[in-house]
Symmetry: C2
């Protein structure tokens, strides 16, 4: 199998050039103006899958963005691996903070900078090139491979579940592999065994029917921006614990074993502080940083807007104020229950003088794997061969809404095998993917097929 590494090295320039082409397509799913780009991206990806020799490649329409599917069978008795990924990306805002444009991939210090570099185009394309590496061999693939690459992950995958249900038989599998996570550190190959869930809400407080002069009217009407700040402030207490009634009832505390694993990880608080660029880390009282990131729920404002936000001063009493806000959840919190309690609580906190509009965006269930199964051992072996080092089992504070869905629907374990590095600026300006990880990722995935074939046989 060293020949896979050789093949990747020999084709390095082409593999990069193809990835950059993928990254140039602004397939932003949250912005309806980019609908045509999303469609173009799906078509481009399908063409690449056909080029590497996969069978059953289709661009399947949904009520939203298309799903790119492949269904490549080598033998009825071989195990089947289903690869999931997404070709859509987050918006590039704030655009002016990018050093090079978000959709013009730029290589600096061995990294490619572009929106979607790590999340998730770079990691999707790793799988495409791993398949190329195996399909050009005479021995070929030792497993059946199916791919489901969607275009709505960044908006909560509203059409994926119906699609998977409708195609339940066609996509039947023994294991699901998803590369949409990261490594604990550059030299620490990692398998992710836990994810947080999410509830995303938009709150608008409405006061006067239009913006008012803050001098003429100030003092006589409740200012919706002040009122929104007051309500948001009440959602946490002085220990930075969330005050929504019942919020912590279903939160599973870290086990002693989990605490031990976390404590042995090569984590440097000062490096982390510098990476995020804050003067001081901070969060829920009495918890360590990794516990806060992996095992504790959050409540973060994601956006705020009200009144005059331009240059200089405008003495306006705004007619409305809006906050976007999300809560990350941990096992066994239920997004539907959290949303219900949140909405009830915000209405209870809001002053009588304002009208309250609440809108729920996408949600996700939290998830934790049982890391004892054969697929996790196969992944450990493949990672150790490619990286020359035993991997660690970590958690991830983010959400991949469909992970628990895949697990349930296909009654198969989900393997989160990710190659993003810390500080890769996911969802932020200057997102990047390390090109060495791109190549080691291709090698790992190409090796994984053999180990899955052995262990699942």
């Amino acid at each position: 199998m060293t020949e896979v590494a050789d093949f990747v090295r020999e084709n390095r320039e082409r593999f990069r050039a193809e990835l950059f082409e993928f990254l140039e397509i602004p397939s932003i799913s949250t912005d309806s103006e980019h609908g045509a780009d999303v469609d173009r991206c799906a078509g481009w990806l399908a063409s690449r899958l056909e080029e590497v020799g996969l069978e059953g490649v289709e661009v399947e329409e949904t009520d939203g963005n298309p799903v790119v599917v492949a269904d490549h069978r080598v033998a009825a008795e071989a195990p089947t691996v289903l690869v999931y990924g997404h070709y859509d990306v987050q918006p590039p805002d704030p655009v002016d903070e990018w050093v090079s444009p978000a959709f013009e991939p730029s290589v600096r210090d061995g990294r490619v900078y572009a929106r979607g570099a790590t999340d998730d185009k770079g990691q999707v394309y790793m799988h495409v090139k791993a398949l190329e590496a195996r399909l050009r061999e005479e021995a070929g693939l030792p497993v059946n491979v199916k791919l489901v690459l969607e275009g709505e992950e960044e908006v909560g995958s509203p059409n994926l579940e119906p699609f998977l249900r409708e195609n339940r038989e066609r996509l039947d599998c023994d294991a699901v592999v998803i590369s949409d996570t990261g490594m604990f550190a550059r030299d620490v190959p990692s398998v992710t065994v836990g994810l947080r869930g999410m509830v995303y809400q938009e709150i608008t407080f409405r006061g006067p029917s239009s913006d008012l002069h803050s001098g003429l009217y100030g003092g006589t009407v409740v200012n919706p921006a002040n009122a929104l700040a007051e309500t948001l402030a009440q959602l946490k207490d002085d220990d930075r614990r969330i005050t929504i009634p019942g919020f912590y009832e279903d939160v599973r505390e870290m086990t002693d074993e989990e605490r031990e694993t976390v404590e042995t990880l090569p984590f440097d608080e000062e490096d982390y502080r510098q990476e995020v660029g804050v003067r001081q880390l901070g969060g829920e009282a009495g918890r360590s940083t990794l516990e806060r990131a992996w095992f504790r729920p959050t409540l973060d404002v994601n956006g705020l807007v009200s009144g005059y936000t331009g240059e200089g001063a405008k003495t306006v009493l705004p007619s409305r104020a809006t906050a976007k806000l999300s809560m990350r959840l941990v096992p066994d919190q239920d997004p539907a229950r959290v949303q219900e309690n949140f909405q009830w609580y915000v209405r209870a906190l809001a002053p009588d003088e304002v009208d309250v509009d609440l809108q729920g965006h996408h949600g996700a269930r939290p998830w934790a794997a049982d890391p004892e199964g054969p697929v996790f051992r196969a992944a450990s072996e493949a990672l150790e061969e490619a990286f020359g080092r035993e991997p660690v089992f970590v958690r991830n504070g983010g959400s991949i809404p469909i992970v628990p869905l895949f697990e349930e629907l296909f009654e198969a374990p989900v393997l989160l095998l990710g190659f993003g590095l810390p500080g890769a600026n996911l969802h932020a300006p200057n997102e990047w993917f390390d090109l060495e990880m791109y190549e080691l990722g291709i090698e790992t995935v190409a090796r994984l097929y053999d180990h899955v074939a052995e262990r699942e046989a």
Copy 2:
């Protein structure tokens, strides 16, 4: 003097057309992109002053926008009236809430809708046309008239004070007349005898060096948007009193006489509620609506912005959050002292984990007149003749930063003689000026000269 009214009626169409031309110039002083429009507006206004026969018309350069001056002397022994106004306007934001474009004057229901219609172009032009009405008479003007029309009122008149000090002798006067206020109601001619002051601040809380993924990092760093909301919330207590230490120390309580005057005004709380379009009025506990608007200080958020504010959901932990915020002050609060205490207090409230940037925009001293002087009597007489009704003495919750300055610098009373009507949407979308008030205003000003001449003689 009924001939003034006749003259106004006969020239109605032309007077309107000229005002509309004035309103078409987007002389937005807070936005540096409109610098050329501001200059063009000053030149246009100077030409109109020359056309009506005024002498000593000049467009005087300053370090900022130009000041348009006229110095028209009729007799050394006649009293001198100095008219102040401003030709700059507020920005039109939010632009999409205007029924007709902000800089395309549109007449509906006897009102002209345009940015600056009431504040202050309509009222400045009233004076220009009143002078035309008197200068075309053989008897002419019974007083010397000087005009100072500036282009930076909406950004706090940073260059007016040096200009007035340099031109102290040239602009010497016995009374200052300013039409930049409103009437208590349509049939209630009014003289304004008190204004609130202002302190305007911009607060930025900075956390991470760039926006972070709210899943990967959420919980481990203090979110500057949450922190800003918490700090803003602490600026008022449950009675909606401002909590800045010492804030109320210099606040003059309403006198019994003032309370009596306020109670006799034709004020309907339900009409007011409907005018501003709130479900319920609200403010500092234990105070009436007019007391809140005229005699009590405020603290209002004027703008908020942080993180993602576009369509849909973006799971970002913002790197910074900004609030624009203003406090309206009443006699005898001192803006410098309020700003100092505010800044100290915000820094004390902010959590250690964020960096705090504070920027002061313009300020204004609060003001209250002594309404017993001859100019106030002259104004009462002119208003009663034009409107057929005795005027009332009211206050205004807004700020005209230079009113106390004029009073002090010229050792002369300042008369605030305004013709705006309630609900005219100053600083808001769909600003309007009632065209009947425009004409009655011209008549009142033309009559005022005689009464000033009689009383000051």
